[in-house]
Symmetry: C2
Subunit: 323 residues, 2 copies
């Protein structure tokens, strides 16, 4: 991984990947006690930054491999990012999803052009199904984060942050990312190391699922004890990636762990003050900026709002936190 891969991914995405806005509100600044800027990746195609990685992977593949199609395992944002990127490249995608995944997610992934293969979590092994399909059809697996082209794609978000911060006159900032496997965080960290080297990247995760924060603290990869039970489903991964962790270890400061209540309040405030829809996993960084000010040192904080795919029942809980 190097910065030139990120710049190449950026060039490949010109005119396709959305340059998402950097939003702010004096009301959020007041709550945080400092300037807060929100990189609204919830407004990216398919509603999350994952389209950046999907587009980078598809556009960066050799043409003959791409023509045979791609495959991904995901019931969430990565699936949709890969499906749309494949469709826009005129090739096929297969997404392997558990058959008990929400019907709307299955339908959405199909509507974005993917062939959805369902499996029974109790009796079938998705890796076996995926390996069989890949071999039979010559499909290329696109991993959700531990893949250089995917990391390069997510890093384009960091290049935009550096550009937009310069346009806004921000000379120094802490940049808080919503962190799952570390694709977005490692990509942004490398981009800012090159283009905004005074900025410090820090991660945010839900309390109880803070494998990255603990890994950064320990200096070695730590696992989560549980993989279910959080509303922040989009960013719950077993552990940081083998490619992403060394980058984060080199470039990131201490991570934040935020509560479910803080996440819901951040979502509510984003509705009220920024007029954007953020999903729980995409609100952990904003929650850290708003409610963990004692652990911040900069007078300016930039956070990723990394996705906005949330069902209305969960969103109603966020609205209920507003006065």
């Amino acid at each position: 991984m190097n910065i030139e891969m990120i710049r190449a991914a950026y060039a490949r995405g010109q005119g396709v990947v959305r340059r998402t806005p950097l939003l702010s509100s004096p009301f959020l600044d007041e709550i945080a006690g400092r300037k807060v800027f929100v990189k609204a990746e919830c407004l990216q195609h398919t509603g999350s930054f994952k389209f950046r990685g999907g587009w980078s992977a598809l556009s960066g593949m050799e043409a003959d491999k791409r023509a045979k199609g791609v495959i991904a395992f995901s019931s969430g944002n990565h699936a949709q990012g890969v499906a749309l990127a494949a469709k826009m490249h005129g090739t096929s995608s297969v997404v392997i999803m558990p058959e008990d995944a929400p019907r709307v997610k299955i339908e959405n992934t199909k509507a974005l052009g993917a062939e959805v293969v369902l499996y029974d979590r109790g009796s079938e092994d998705r890796d076996v199904i995926g390996a069989k399909l890949s071999t039979e059809r010559g499909l290329t697996l696109i991993k959700p984060f531990d893949d250089p082209l995917v990391i390069a794609g997510q890093g384009t978000c960091g290049l935009e942050i550096a550009e937009q911060a310069a346009e806004t006159g921000i000379a120094q900032a802490e940049v808080i990312t919503c962190c799952g496997g570390g694709g977005l965080t490692s990509g942004i960290s490398m981009a800012l190391e090159a283009d905004a080297p005074t900025f410090n990247v820090r991660t945010a995760e839900p309390v109880g699922f803070d494998d990255v924060a603990r890994s950064l603290s320990a200096g070695a990869i730590q696992r989560n004890n549980a993989l279910t039970g959080s509303i922040c489903d989009a960013i719950i991964t077993p552990q940081p990636g083998d490619l992403t962790f060394p980058i984060m270890k080199r470039l990131c400061g201490a991570g934040f762990a935020v509560s479910e209540d803080e996440v819901l309040r951040a979502m509510g405030l984003a509705f009220e003050r920024l007029r954007v829809v953020i999903e729980p996993g995409g609100a952990v960084a904003l929650a850290a900026a708003l409610f963990h000010g004692n652990d911040l040192t900069s007078d300016t904080v930039i956070v990723t709002a990394s996705g906005g795919n949330v069902d209305k029942a969960v969103f109603a809980r966020a609205l209920a936190t507003l006065e």
Copy 2:
């Protein structure tokens, strides 16, 4: 009014007024049966396009007049746009609001730096109060739409639409605006006449409050019969403006009138598919694009989502329209 005034307002707003994104979703295209692009002015400072007009008015005034302060009548988006623009210019603003206005709107307007003067709708005349304050303090009145600097500011939204349409490869489109007094509509119409002359501008209003559509149809200004009873409060005005109507008459096609149910469904779909929060008055154009396709002739429609200041109870009604 001429295009050079809009270009001048655009230049004065560089680095301050947000260039809001042009959003889209294949799911919305499917519903509409054509390409739909949404100019997300709900993401503008203060949550509506009104900041454009406020900024234009403040930045375009003579410095000595500006230093004495400005005054506006509004309990809504215009008040907030003027208040923030005045604060950012280092001058004072007075906003005259009815004392029964929602507490949160009064507090927000104060928080944006305005001095709020409350009056009793039953026993006091706001024009008398405003005239007295203006005379005593030398304040300049900033009207909500029938003011050349305000129209010029709203027109900057149209310059951006022309630029973004060109970047996106859109050669022809119908552009539907959410229309109250016609400041946004007339400004956009003049901007597109100059920079995208193949585009046709059309207005959208709520059923029962379609004074602009009826005025356009009649060729002369018509009034609304009622001024209350719509959830689209932001765009309910007695009649089109004396400055704005001749421009709209010259440049706009037939207007749309959409139902409350259509507005709420459009808001729900914007939540689900675009991840933005739109207020009822800001959703009428999207509702027309999605649900009045029989009255459209282009394969591409661009709509303004002109504001996002909506309380959670109304937003919950929009969420309830989703499956």
